[in-house]
Subunit: 453 residues, 2 copies
Amino acid sequence: MTATDWATLDNAGLLTDLYELTMMQAYYQEGLFEPAVFDLFFRKLPEERNYLLAAGLDTALAYLENLHFPPEAIDYLDSLGTFSRDFLDYLAAFRFTGEVRAVPEGTPIFANEPIIEVKAPLPQAQLAETFLLNQLHFQTLMASKAARVADVAGGRSVVDFGARRMHGADATLKAARAFYIAGADATSNVLAGQAYGIPVSGTMAHSYIEAHDSELDAFAAFAGLYPETVLLVDTYDTLEGVRKVTELAERWGDRFRVSGIRLDSGDLGELAKGSRRILDEAGLQDVSILASGSLDEYAIRDLLADGAPFDGFGVGTHMGVSEDAPFLDSAYKLVAYANQPRMKLATHKVTLPGEKQVYRVRDESGTYARDTIATAEEPPLNGTPLLATVMRDGKRLSEASPGLAAIRERACAERNRLPQALLELEPAEPYPVAVSDHLQERTRELRQRLSPK
Amino acid sequence: MTATDWATLDNAGLLTDLYELTMMQAYYQEGLFEPAVFDLFFRKLPEERNYLLAAGLDTALAYLENLHFPPEAIDYLDSLGTFSRDFLDYLAAFRFTGEVRAVPEGTPIFANEPIIEVKAPLPQAQLAETFLLNQLHFQTLMASKAARVADVAGGRSVVDFGARRMHGADATLKAARAFYIAGADATSNVLAGQAYGIPVSGTMAHSYIEAHDSELDAFAAFAGLYPETVLLVDTYDTLEGVRKVTELAERWGDRFRVSGIRLDSGDLGELAKGSRRILDEAGLQDVSILASGSLDEYAIRDLLADGAPFDGFGVGTHMGVSEDAPFLDSAYKLVAYANQPRMKLATHKVTLPGEKQVYRVRDESGTYARDTIATAEEPPLNGTPLLATVMRDGKRLSEASPGLAAIRERACAERNRLPQALLELEPAEPYPVAVSDHLQERTRELRQRLSPK
């Protein structure tokens, strides 16, 4: 068994909050097996995000298809002294048999729009809460951050360098995939390359240079083995390092095929300009300059605005932990049980009850103009419905797995249809999201019924 | 195979940056197999941290012991067209055979102090960079955050509620363990409970209440099944919810054994005071009050300073992503090769060359007073040496695995020896960390030798 698809590993079912299981047992004892509907959505966007890019559905569906409790999981639960034999037997035979409607990966979404709607017997839909949130939250978080980086890079290459400072091993895989969906060109993470077929890329580290007696020896050895490599020039003195690259070019003549240099420290903008001059004077116009080191969309914007001649960016930590907004206000809320709409009333956290559909309307130029969140039952409104059925009777529908290349293309096409202001780094006027009359009416009625007399 | 110990899964070896493997191949081709020493350390502490709490060594050693490349990993690498048959054969037979010195988990550490030192043939020590950083960085990040939360809670219970918004699946496990080391009492994460033997804990969700026709029915059903449970009272109106708990107590008399209530929204401080009054007036002094919802060490401090009568805290997102400092400035740097000290000179990123030891000195009261980073070769300095050998010839030494309970006790005892100012939430004067004369001299000499003439 390999480490790649965590969701399908044997005890992934235990990756849940204890209360999901205690509530399940209560539902089981009380006979509450009627269909429940849970919406997974983001209550509001961080100030630093004008839209979110949906990601993670593939993992979510893999998890639901594989969700089960092997004997060692049952034994552990038994050891807690909280669960009855009956209920443990029920868990041992457990499979997810519900239906899932979802927004395709790579779709821009906004506050309060369900990204996924799970409809299943109450205990099943409840159990899935923790894992679905964990994955859809994180992957959407990563895709939403990387979309900004890719946008600001404006066609220059963006490579994920984040594995070393992301939060744990699973994060490195899921983030690499989400970044690729959002427009990153490659990842340095070899396992992500194997798992998802994402192009892998990399240069060299300072340690390689330091292990050699001289920087020039190191450059020569590495370029000898990898003729089109990128050489890291800032181990001792950046511009001196660049001059050694030109020395190598002179020495090697036509044999010299080094494709680029990488700057990883210091005043990147000034050093890039100096490096470009040195390379150009040596006739090395084709050698590109890559930047890395504490980069994010803001730093890249500033470098490019200042005219720094960078051709690509290795982006690590700040993208990898979504440093300016390291989490989203995600929620997984019961919106219907036994065919009755449900909601929570507590201050500032009102949810929209019942099954829903989101309609997205374009203006005459094809740009997205507004969304309406509606009930799933009302006659279709104007616009394209975003939620489609992706799983029925616990089995993924084939159209729910378009493949990574198609998802990436979709994300690109979808973002091109967003109003320009949403693609800027600065906070924009929020994209208009309305609630249909029918859904407003339902919300009002239910609130009245539930409010303390 | 189970999902618990990621480090030992079959293709964990591929979780590395591509350049580690291309550099390895270059070392292999060039015959650079001499022993290399890499230090893993944190260049500086975030402003919001007065100390870091070392964590993650157990995962690091499990990874090194199990590091290998199964056939499917070799096949994937072969498909990249970058690696020679010879080198792939070398990888297929690869095992880590080096030595590791490390600071025990649960030890407070400061800027530039090696948390782990890996000494192995250069290709081996290079390969391990990405995974070791990924795990030691993240687990130390989590332990360091949770220590602050536990401190400010002052003995009240702290429960990890973070799984749903942590970054991926592996993060939820490693964070739960790191939190427990740092003083958290339990986790809601069942898989972490199974994996590490951490106590698991949980209450109920709003969805449970909403699935019932009335809040009182829901309380009665849940407390019927779990007599000593904690009831969530803020689904509709918090103080009304508390009154329903007292109603249940009155109705049930001696049968009522509910241990607590949980407040998850609204003005937590005011609602806690109101809830306490209602409970006390009903004679329910023994029913405790737990808080959750966007808590961190700052919020808990403010609540307690305001006299909010909370007995415990469920802490989720802000601790789970270390929201105020979501990454550390970690580094894994070559400090020696072929028994010669090595270093990088680029601006602001100077490393201390050679193998090292850190000595920690106490004052007469037993409080830690200062550290000195020294060469490993010089005669021992005053104080307790922090780095000890934990792996030899690729095999973990038995004393390197003290068990989670011992690590947790150590962390507690060690933190009690820190100067009080470091335990406060506010930035303190940095703890004094000196560099020994010998190490300063070595650094100076090497810098001179390496500087461009």
